[in-house]
Symmetry: C2
Subunit: 419 residues, 2 copies
């Protein structure tokens, strides 16, 4: 399954039919996916892929990370040994300092290191959810979070979005139906797949809703530091910090995957007071602790003070690619393709418009023969997909290939429309 | 929580009472642990600890692992990027070759890389168990496995052991009661905590039971390669390989934590045909994939061909420490302490005998004041503990401190008995 969770829904065909033994019933809810089969073409030679969710390797701070790892391994007895479940103290300190600089004041003791933010999401699901609990997510939503909540046998409810974020009416309707969510999963900055940013007013409204109805918010922030336009908005967790009733309800998750390197699998949770003991017990059951060697290398890197400069590099790199892709699409599609203009992150969200609009999945089939790829939007919906929508990653394609990629996309659309 | 899962049961005091929000009901089954509080003394200066489950850092192949990591980081674009969920192909190949050399023929495609074998156990629980399913384990058993099965809300049933392994009568009784287990969790070689080895006949009987009643066996083998006495016995998975009906029911788990380095968190599952697709979906939900950098470093190390020599070093090191500790205990306790003689692994299992026998937990309290530690056996029981039993790790204490450690243990016993 390549290369990260947002390529396709976590569900191959005939999962249970082939299994030699009875599987847990939680796996019964996993749907098969034709899109996933299509995306297996990602590594064909000559393919221009706008499908993947990988950060650009051009953004890796290679020499500094090599040095951080060498420094880590120099203290081999520490670097190679078991560590504490909560995370290496030096990394927890560095992450707390980083979060505080980003506006969320916290101490090392509030930080639980996880094996990527994927594990952070799973850990929260195991901490809070019983089978049948309602989890409200954005619609469309990050696929691997959807996978976690399905595995937890939660009732996943997608909230339709307006320009400011998930519409409050959907949440109120759940309360009115007696289905108040246990958990509200939100990605306020540059969400995957849409690249959208929630307004400050919506963040405040969501927090107020959580307080009023005692709903826990899991705020997932993998992309927030990669803002390349507009003004930074406070995280929901930082808004909650002023009020203990609110602070007790907001869990913040983040990761070094997009700003340092995915391969280290360093994610973390900032937990409200009182949740740490139970979270540590679960973390211990999940994998005892995250790899010491990766944690120490991350701490060395953060300690080097290079991250701010690196973020400047990354923001420029991604902004240029985003601009190049939007321009190329505009040139080849004009009004045939609506395309948003995200202020950060890695993704554009687009939809075919006009009388010639076809389903994005049909377009993808033709695109593969033209050696270009994207992810149809329907992959990211819990229900009620917009079949004309699609996600385009601008992260890994060099700017000078954007034009050729857009040209192929247009040729593929013409093929599909003619066919 | 330090330093690995076998220091104490995964359960602090007042877990739910302090939590600001309602926790998942699965956490309600977690018991508090007085032993865990006692073991927080592990890092006091001058402490001789027989409590931990850490491998000896004297056994780390430091220079070779530094080289493996440097070679990994030299190919930074690969080492720092996202990887495939199943594991890096080069590592899966190396692990399949290693398992095949150990007598379990398998191919890279049968191997799923996990973040330590702890995740392997959790993954199997999520793959197979519904709440209320019966899981049979050895009694006493590996604590962090017990934690996983409790988190899965399974009914955990401990099987009393005889000299050959878990007694078959206990399993048959479960069937007779209509409580046939869904899963049988076994550690045939040098189990934690007892260091015991299952006989060949018992392995065969357990496999036959599994076939007769369609029970899945999870065979956990963290220590098997660390045999320093006696003859190697075939793994249950290798016994099953001859018969497809049996092979479909045995999942094998192992790890590099004890033979290379815990900090890499490289574990794996060898899965029967047909279970891989569902297992990959779960793995993706758990953490997308294990750290690329650790996987590639492990592959470089295995590719260096140094493991066999290293295992010779480790076996000698652990055998010498085991012998030294047993001899020291014999000298200070004579018949007051029964102590087994394991053929591998890291642990001795002992019990106080005779009219002066006290509870091991009481002994531990006195031991802490004498600057020596062990884990009372009762920590490892699902129910019906033997209060006079204890686990002593011989792995991390240098041979020349064994005498002093045993002397302190005896002094502590005298204190506790007098008190």
């Amino acid at each position: 399954m390549r290369p990260d969770a947002d390529l396709a829904p976590p569900a191959p065909v005939s999962l249970c039919g082939d299994a030699p033994v009875r599987l847990a019933s939680r796996l019964g809810g996993m749907r098969s996916s034709a899109i996933r089969d299509l995306l297996a073409h990602a590594r064909e030679p000559g393919m221009i892929s706008f499908a993947g969710g990988l950060p650009s390797p051009d953004g890796f701070d290679v020499a500094a990370l090599q040095r951080a790892m060498a420094d880590t391994m120099a203290d081999a007895r520490h670097a190679l040994q078991y560590g504490v479940t909560e995370g290496e103290p030096v990394l927890r300190e560095a992450l707390a300092a980083w979060m505080t600089r980003r506006g969320l004041r916290c101490a090392a003791g509030d930080v639980l290191v996880t094996t990527g933010s994927q594990q952070a999401i799973d850990l929260v699901a195991r901490l809070l959810l019983d089978a049948g609990d309602v989890v409200a997510i954005e619609r469309p939503a990050y696929l691997a979070a959807l996978g976690v909540f399905r595995l937890a046998q939660a009732q996943v409810v997608g909230l339709p979005a307006d320009d400011e974020g998930p519409a409050m009416a959907g949440l109120q309707a759940l309360v009115d139906e007696g289905r108040t969510p246990r958990l509200l999963y939100l990605v306020p900055d540059f969400a995957n797949p849409t690249g959208a940013t929630m307004s400050l007013a919506r963040r405040q409204a969501l927090l107020q809703f959580a307080v009023n109805h005692r709903v826990v918010i899991l705020e997932d922030d993998p992309y927030g530091a990669m803002r390349f336009a507009g003004e930074a908005l406070p995280s929901i967790a930082s808004l909650a910090a002023a009020d203990p009733r609110a602070a007790a309800l907001v869990i913040h998750a983040s990761t070094l995957s997009k700003i340092v390197a995915p391969a280290l699998r360093i994610g973390w949770l900032v937990l409200p007071p009182g949740l740490m003991p139970a979270a540590v017990i679960i973390k211990q059951c999940l994998d005892l602790h995250s790899p010491t060697v990766c944690q120490l290398a991350a701490a060395h890197y953060l300690g080097s003070g290079r991250l701010d400069d690196r973020l400047s590099v990354l923001r420029r790199l991604y902004r240029d690619r985003k601009d190049a892709l939007r321009e190329a699409l505009q040139g080849h599609f004009g009004d045939l393709l609506e395309c948003n203009d995200p202020q950060g992150g890695m993704f554009l969200w687009a939809r075919l418009t006009g009388p010639g609009a076809i389903e994005a999945t049909r377009w993808l089939r033709a695109a593969l023969t033209h050696k270009v790829m994207f992810v149809p939007g329907e992959a990211f919906y819990d229900a009620g997909p917009d079949p004309a929508s699609l996600r385009l990653s601008f992260a890994t394609t060099p700017p000078d290939l954007m034009g050729e990629g857009a040209r192929r996309l247009r040729a593929a659309l013409d093929t599909a429309t003619a066919g």
